[in-house]
C-alpha cells in the first residue's frame, strides 16, 4: 500500500506538512500511474504538463509532501525535475532559480573557479 500516511493525513486536522494545494497535486498521481502504467511515455507527458509552470518553491513543497507521504515514485519524479531544471545551467541561472546570492568572501569565488575549472566546459547559455 503506497499511501500509509495518507489516511493519517486525512485524520489529522491540523496538518502543516502538506497544504491542500499540494495534496491535490500529489494524491491523484498514483491513480494516474495505475491507469497509464503500461505506457511510460504518456506518463512522462502528463508529468511534464503538470510541472511546466511550477516555481521552485512549489517544487520544494511537493518534494516535502511526497517525502512525508512516503510516496517514492512522486518523490523521485519531483527530485528529478529539480535536477533537470538546473542541469548544465550557469551559476547565475542557478542562483536566480533558487533565489539566493553569492555569499563568498572576496577572492574565495575566484579560487573555487580555479579548483573547479574542469567543470565549466559546455555550460548552457542562459
Amino acid at each position: 500500500m503506497k499511501f500509509c500516511t495518507v489516511k493519517q493525513y486525512f485524520d489529522d486536522e491540523n496538518n502543516n506538512n502538506v497544504t491542500n494545494g499540494i495534496a491535490t497535486t500529489v494524491i491523484p498521481l498514483p491513480n494516474k500511474h495505475l491507469k497509464i502504467k503500461a505506457n511510460n511515455k504518456e506518463m512522462e507527458q502528463y508529468e511534464q504538463e503538470l510541472l511546466r509552470n511550477v516555481m521552485p518553491q512549489e517544487l520544494t513543497k511537493l518534494i516535502l509532501a511526497a517525502n512525508y507521504l512516503n510516496f517514492k515514485e512522486a518523490l523521485d519524479f519531483f527530485c528529478r525535475t529539480v535536477a533537470n531544471a538546473i542541469q548544465n545551467k550557469s551559476v547565475d541561472y542557478v542562483r536566480k532559480f533558487f533565489g539566493l546570492e553569492s555569499d563568498f568572501e572576496p577572492g574565495e569565488e575566484e579560487k573555487l573557479c580555479k579548483e573547479f575549472a574542469w567543470s565549466f566546459e559546455g555550460v548552457d547559455e542562459d
Partner: protein, 517 residues
Amino acid sequence: MLSCKSLLSQTINKKRKKNKSKNKNKNKNSNTRVSKKHNLVSKTQTYEEEEEEEDCEEGFNLKTSAAPSHTHGVQPLGNLYINPGSINSRNTGLGSLQTLTDELVLDILGLLGGTHLGVLATVSKSFYVFTNHEPLWRNLVLENLNAGFLYNGSWKSTYVAACYPSFDVSSAGVSGLRVRDFYSDYLFQSWLCANLEMKPEWLQRDNIIRRKGISVEDFVLNFEELNKPVLLEGCLDNWVALQNWDRDYLLQLCSDVQFAVGPVDMKLQEYFRYSDQVREERPLYLFDPKFAEKVPKLGSEYEVPVYFREDLFSVLGNERPDYRWIIMGPAGSGSSFHIDPNSTSAWNAVIRGSKKWILFPPDVVPPGVHPSPDGAEVACPVSIIEWFMNFYGATKNWEKKPIECICKAGEVIFVPNGWWHLVINLEESIAITQNFVSRRNLLNVLDFLKRPNANALVSGTRDRVNLHDKFKNAIETSFPGTIDQLVQKAEEKKAQQKQSFWDSVTDSKVGAFKFSF
C-alpha cells in the same frame, strides 16, 4: 532517535539534556537494495574543535591522522544554538531549497553528473559544502568508472583525475575552503563517523564460548545441533596461509589480478592503494567468491577446518551458489547486521588482523535494525560506527544480550544459521569465510529455498528459482533416503516435545480420569 554524544574534552559542560528532536526522514533507495532510515541527531550535540582531545570517559577519539574538525568547517546544529544571533549559512545559501532536509538535498544532487556538481560548488558556500560530500563522488566513480580508476586521496579527486586527466588536480589544489556558520547534523555526523576510533568500552564485552581441540562430535552435539556460536582456537595451525599471507606476499603472488571490491573489480595493488588512503564511513572491502579460481595457490594454502567438512551444496558441483570468499579490509570496514543467505551456517577464520563480532539469535532483532516482513530487505543505520554510537548502549540493559567477541589471527568463529551478525575490522585484516549446509540444517535450507519469494532472497547463484528442486534431487541422488530420515527424526522430536508438554499440564499424581456410571 539518534543520541550522538558530543566530542567532549574535560572542560566542556557534561550536562546534556535528553532533548531529542525527531525528524521524519526517508532516504530514497539509491544504489543499494537496502533502504536506510536516518533520523537527525540530538539538538544539543556540540563540538568544540579548539579544545584538546583529552582522554575523556564521555568523549570519542578521532583516528590519529584525522583532521581535528570537519574538512570544510561544518558544525553540528547544537553549536548554532549556543551561538545566539548566528545565521546558518546552510540555509541562506540554499535559497528555496533550504526547507528540504539534508538527505533530500543530497538526493537531488545525487541525480547530477560530475560536471554539474562542479559548477554548483561555486554557487554559494552551502552548495560548496553539499557538493563536496564525498559519498556523491563515490557513487559517480563506482557507477561510471568501473572499467578502472586509481584512488586519488578522495573520491572527488579520483573522479576528476579519471575524467579530466589533463587537469592538474594537485596544483589547483583542494582549496580547502572553510566555511563559517554552516551547521548541519547530517553532514557533521557523516564526517564524525568516518573519523572515529572504536571506543574501548565497545570492545570490552567478550562472552562467546571458546573451545580448543574439541572433537567433531563434541562440536556437532554441543554447538551445531543447538545452533550456538562458538570460537574455535588452534584449528588453523596447519594453514600455510597463516604463515605466508601478508601484503607483500599477496602482491608478489597476484598484484594484477582483478578482485571483487563492492560493486566493482580492482587489481589487488589498486585495492591496497585505496585502503591505505581511505577515510570514510563505510570503506569498501575486497570480498571475492572466486579467489581460488583466480589464484589457485591461494586456494591451496588453506583447508576447511575439520568441524565443517560436511558440505552438502557440493552435490551441485559448478552450479552451487557462491560459498567461499576471501575478505580483505581496512580498519573500520565490515558488515552491518544481516543474516547469511540461503539459511546456511558459516565459519570465518582470521588470517591477519582482528575483527569485532556482535551476534544476536534468530528470534532477536538487533536494536536499530528493521527487516521487512518477508526478510528481503533490511534497513540499518548508515554505518557500523553509527550503530555503535547510537544503539550499542541499548544492549547493556537488554535481557537478551548479544554474543560478542574479538576474533584474532588464527581463530575461527562459527556463525549458526539464522543468527544476526555484525562484523567490523579493528585493523587491516585478511580472512577466509565459507557458508555451508550440513545434515543439521539441511531441512532448514530446503524450506528456505521452497519459499515463494525465493528468487529475491536466495543469493549467490544465477538460477535462483530452480535451486530448491535441483538441490533436493541432487541430495536424493548422492545420499538417498537422507532427507526422509531427517524429516522422520524431526517429527519424532516434535512428538516427544508435545508429549512432555502434555505431561506438564496434567497432574500426574492423580489417577487417570475414568467415567463411572
